[in-house]
Symmetry: C2
Subunit: 251 residues, 2 copies
């Protein structure tokens, strides 16, 4: 069993190193993959605005990163820029889409049709970006057959058959924490290899399954930490003779 990949982890590089497609893909750091997705969104906006060419400086600004980092990220997927000019927006879009595997549709199953599950099922951002919601599951028999966001809810017991039949490649867990591990196990045995987990639980999965987690409580607590740190700073700054607005009180 392997714990899921958390934030900031790098891609695990294999010991052997054959120079082929696999290595090209493996060589991209996880952090860079996340940023590529951001670049892609910015670039899509550019296309709509009719922009045909963009420099690393501009794109970096719009994506909120350093331009050197941007260029390095793009270099992981090959050299598609023109020196002295910049990048062709459409070319870049198609290359990033290819690398991120967006040339293929990835069917999504949402498990747990509570508040969050409802929101996810109705979320228009998924289908429009190549992630059609293909199935919904809940343990409540009263929900079975009820359409949510246009898709009828299935009972969780049918997860294996429905998932393999509809070729679900990504499972989204939006259940209460107690149920999450069991749901995860079922998804895995249904052949789902990628899981997005909203439940505040550390899922145990086999090595070959990729888990990403979105943990609202953790996010809030990180922000809370920064609030506290800021309060500490302000307090010690005042003690040290610096006012709360950064003005030195006793120089």
């Amino acid at each position: 069993m392997a714990a899921q990949r958390g934030e900031g982890d790098g891609v695990v590089t294999s010991p052997e190193a054959p120079a082929d497609v696999r290595e090209r893909a493996r060589a991209i750091p996880e952090a860079a993959v996340a940023r590529l997705a951001v670049y892609l969104r910015v670039l899509s906006g550019m296309v709509e605005q009719g922009v045909t060419t963009i420099s690393s400086e501009e794109l970096a600004g719009a994506a909120g990163v350093n331009s050197a980092k941007l260029r390095k990220d793009l270099s992981y997927i090959g050299s598609y820029g023109t020196r002295g000019v910049g990048y062709d927006v459409e070319v870049l879009v198609s290359h990033i889409e290819r690398i991120l595997g967006l040339t293929r549709k990835h069917s999504v199953a949402v498990v747990g049709i509570g508040n969050l599950g409802h929101a996810l099922a109705n979320y228009g951002g998924f289908p429009s970006r190549g992630f059609p919601v293909a199935a919904l599951f809940d343990i409540d028999p009263d929900l079975t057959g009820v359409p949510v966001g246009g898709i009828p809810v299935n009972h969780i017991d049918d997860i294996t058959s429905v998932c393999s039949e509809r070729e679900v490649s990504i499972g989204v867990i939006a259940t209460p924490p107690q149920a999450a591990q069991a749901v995860c196990d079922r998804l895995v045995s249904a052949g789902v290899q990628c899981i997005l987990n909203f439940a505040p639980v550390v899922l145990q999965v086999p090595d070959y399954v990729e888990v990403r987690k979105v943990d609202l409580a953790v996010e809030m607590q990180i922000l809370s930490f920064h609030v506290a740190r800021r309060a500490d700073e302000a307090a010690s700054d005042v003690v040290n003779g610096i006012g709360v607005d950064g003005v030195v009180i006793r120089p």
Copy 2:
């Protein structure tokens, strides 16, 4: 203007280094802070189960991390373990809560009462963990006054007065992307210094504001990348004489 802190970024260390509380707090890597929140949740579960003492090995297992990393993370907040025994669960809980600033309540305002906003307003996990939802905002006048999750929705134009009056310390943006930057600007001018952004936009904020982003599209695309990588691997493995299940076909 500073771009928001993305995943995996470290804490920015200040040039000067006075040995006081501030440095203690600053010295904790961002990644460690995120893990502390996870440890805290696991420990809370332990408390409910009546566990009084836990070793780094056990806690690390439950949190899905390496035990050395766990001990290092805990060492950032001080040495509260007993060699040969482990950690006192309750002591650890209270110390982590103190470091994360959870001894104080942090009022939350949710802006954008669509599907996601509804889900967030009704999400029980917030209040129970010290993050009471103190205000809801939307631009739709028809929603104004309508209670969602027990709290009446305010019009977005009242954001400044309501936020300062109710001492909101964390703003949650759950609006469509087009509105996000404007909402963010209003939150900032209302004095909110921590923002959790669900809109798929890179927010521009002053340096002193802390932004965390939760981007479902990016998460999905990262998973998509792994699906694609896996497909590539399988393909090249078959070419290289390794079957899809890892069995060597032509040794």
